[in-house]
Symmetry: C2
Subunit: 211 residues, 2 copies
């Protein structure tokens, strides 16, 4: 047709775009946006640089596509936090889901962390819009639990921050965690240890007081 970026029309275009995005996730998450080069991504994707640029016209387009996809996956666990079940069980499930994401999608976590660390220049609107609205909504849910005496009264915003921080820590600071734990304790079991600890910390720390 014309010279613009192919709009995922043919099957081969969809496939190649996926290969590129997978390679870019690997490269971006370990080097950051400015620290990554198109050549690196192209090599990781098994194609030449001009060929990659045939599917994504600019380096930033790859990053943007990656970020948009990421946010959906990223917010899913919080969206599931619902008013349906027992509050403490809901919180435990949320913590567990977040920790599983840190374990299974560490690159996505690091990509996100990289972006936030540098001031979120590309996703600030999304933070102030979509993310804030979702958090506000869930804060109200948690507040309801606190009013009903199901959860200890405390600051719901900072509770959410604490859950984010502690779980994502195992993806973003993975090398530090492993270095400190050492070869013995730093193996695959560290996520189960973390899950046990975090469950105890949050469930005991948020147990409602009598009165």
């Amino acid at each position: 047709m014309e010279g613009s970026t192919p709009r995922g029309r043919t099957r081969i275009q969809k496939e190649k775009r996926e290969v590129i995005l997978e390679a870019a996730l690997e490269v971006f998450s370990t080097n950051g946006f400015r620290g990554s080069t198109i050549d690196q991504i192209a090599e990781a994707a098994g194609m030449s640089k001009p060929n990659l640029l045939y599917y994504f016209r600019r380096k930033e387009d790859i990053h943007e596509t990656l970020m948009h996809r990421l946010l959906d996956t990223w917010l899913a666990p919080l969206k599931e936090l619902d008013n349906i079940g027992d509050p403490m069980t809901e919180l435990r499930s949320y913590i567990r889901r977040k920790l599983e994401m840190a374990r299974d999608f560490p690159r996505e976590s690091r990509l996100f962390a990289n972006e936030i660390l540098q001031g979120a220049p590309r996703i600030m609107p999304m933070l102030e819009g979509e993310l804030k609205e979702l958090v506000d909504e869930k804060v109200e849910v948690i507040r309801g639990w606190m009013r009903n005496g199901k959860v200890a009264r405390t600051d719901p915003w900072h509770l959410i921050f604490a859950i984010w921080a502690t779980t994502q820590h195992y993806a973003d600071f993975d090398v530090q965690v492993r270095a400190v734990l050492g070869p013995d304790r730093g193996g695959d079991g560290r996520f189960e240890d973390a899950a046990r600890f975090l469950e105890q910390l949050f469930l005991e720390g948020l147990k409602p007081k009598a009165g």
Copy 2:
């Protein structure tokens, strides 16, 4: 003398090196190592690029100097965690000190986070050596408290990770925290709110059980 980097001999050299390090901290912490240019640092330091290179021969030398200094400051709070006072009071003080560092030295925190995120290529030996030894030592202190029934029995390593994660979160993810809290709650008071929440979470979560 000769052409090598001046060894902080004269007073003016010491001063200029400080100016450069201060400027580099600002630039590195917001752009990462590869994302920062010598020109940026030179401009922030108010001098020309060749002049900056007269005091630090390579870009990496600046980063390395910064990192070495950083670690001393960074580990100080944990070193203070001591067996002297009441265990719960000691833990509360540690959390408070770490949160104060996140508030007062966010650039240092972000510089460190940047390095870890990218796999800690420049400070890995320090993580496996100095840091691991310090943590191992403090883990023993905490274990003693648990044996004496002063602190709930749990995993001391992950307790330390949780304190690191929750406090540094307010420096590293500052823009996200502020975006989510919004203009009303995102002001200067957020650190006091965070302090109150974290104190409650950790102190309740670690309160020893009878028996």
